[in-house]
Symmetry: C2
Subunit: 209 residues, 2 copies
């Protein structure tokens, strides 16, 4: 979010409570300076105000949060699900994942959103610490899944506004189950290697044009 505001996007932070959203927005503006456009609103209002909705919550809150904004989402909006079904949602560890009936958190979102919503999933494999440290490029690829190529390309472009990031076309939304679970694997790798920002890069792709 900081990264996108820094790149010149207008950002609306949503929260369950208006005051918390405004506080978070003020904190972001303090970091970014007066030219950044960051405001805060209650979730449904934020969803109504935005063209691109980024859903980033713990898995335990995923269903409720989508239900709370679903009727504000229009077919022109782009809905990006970042949520990973980590076992922490049920008191387990962060290095294991839950199976989701629909296949993935992102496919669960499809079921809860209005028909024809453009849903993509992305940004699962990059830790917020890496995104928030504005002094350092992010060293990972963002694999983007979604059922239309147009949607995936829009999200890949958005991803590449973040310095260091390359968007990778991950194919249909059903593949999100793999990309989401990679997060659990990376959390385990962080623990074993005593690091905090393990990510992934895809090798063997053509040079970027």
């Amino acid at each position: 979010m900081l990264r996108w505001a820094k790149a010149g996007e207008r950002v609306v932070i949503g929260s369950r409570m208006q005051q918390k959203a405004e506080d978070a927005a003020k904190k972001a503006r303090d970091i970014l300076g007066p030219n950044a456009s960051v405001t805060g609103m209650e979730n449904p209002k934020a969803a109504a105000a935005a063209d691109i909705i980024v859903m980033s919550v713990p898995f335990a809150a995923h269903v409720d949060m989508i239900k709370s904004v679903a009727e504000r989402v229009t077919p022109d909006d782009l809905f990006i699900d970042v949520v990973v079904p980590l076992s922490t949602a049920v008191g387990g560890g962060a290095s294991t994942a839950l199976g989701v009936w629909e296949g993935s958190a992102a496919q669960q979102a499809v079921r809860l959103l209005p028909p024809h919503t453009k849903v993509a999933s992305a940004f699962h494999n990059v830790v917020s610490e890496a995104l928030q440290n504005l002094n350092k490029d992010v060293d990972c690829d963002i694999i983007v899944c979604g059922d239309s190529r147009e949607t995936r390309e829009a999200v890949m472009k958005l991803a590449e506004e973040i310095p260091g990031v390359r968007g990778v076309d991950g194919g249909r939304l059903e593949n999100s189950r793999i990309v989401e679970q990679i997060t659990a694997l990376l959390i385990g790798i962080n623990i074993r290697y005593k690091v905090s920002e393990a990510g992934i890069r895809i090798t063997g792709l053509p040079p970027r044009s």
Copy 2:
């Protein structure tokens, strides 16, 4: 296999038929020259002759193949499962995977092998073309899963005999379900990007000592 023989390991190629195994071994020796130690044997004999058994077959043949060698595997052996449960096993596409009751192909192997067999899973995410082109380093990490650290380290060391490869500790064997499914994701990426050797690298790890 070529890579390990080139690195000086003694390699035994197993096949259902003695003649096919010998032919494959001869082909390898023709490529590698007279100093390479590559022989061919029927699968059970090959398993008995080897200290490290690498199981690389289509998923449809996985159970039968393990059953055919299981009684030749001893607790001193290291069994490395490379098999990915691609949907091709049941007539589906290579960019999707099957769910395996035990969690992963590697865990299925544990169930079929003698108790106390040291089982690891690795090498899922590197295509054989990349391994067979001896003129080019392999540009990917090999994520190794297994229930003992000692086993994982032995396999990581073996992986790193291949120029360009870095072994990454993937944790317990149960994580193999994620690593195996990454292969399906990479096959889809190969198709979409019209390449053939997409692999992965883990970023954010400490420099290698």
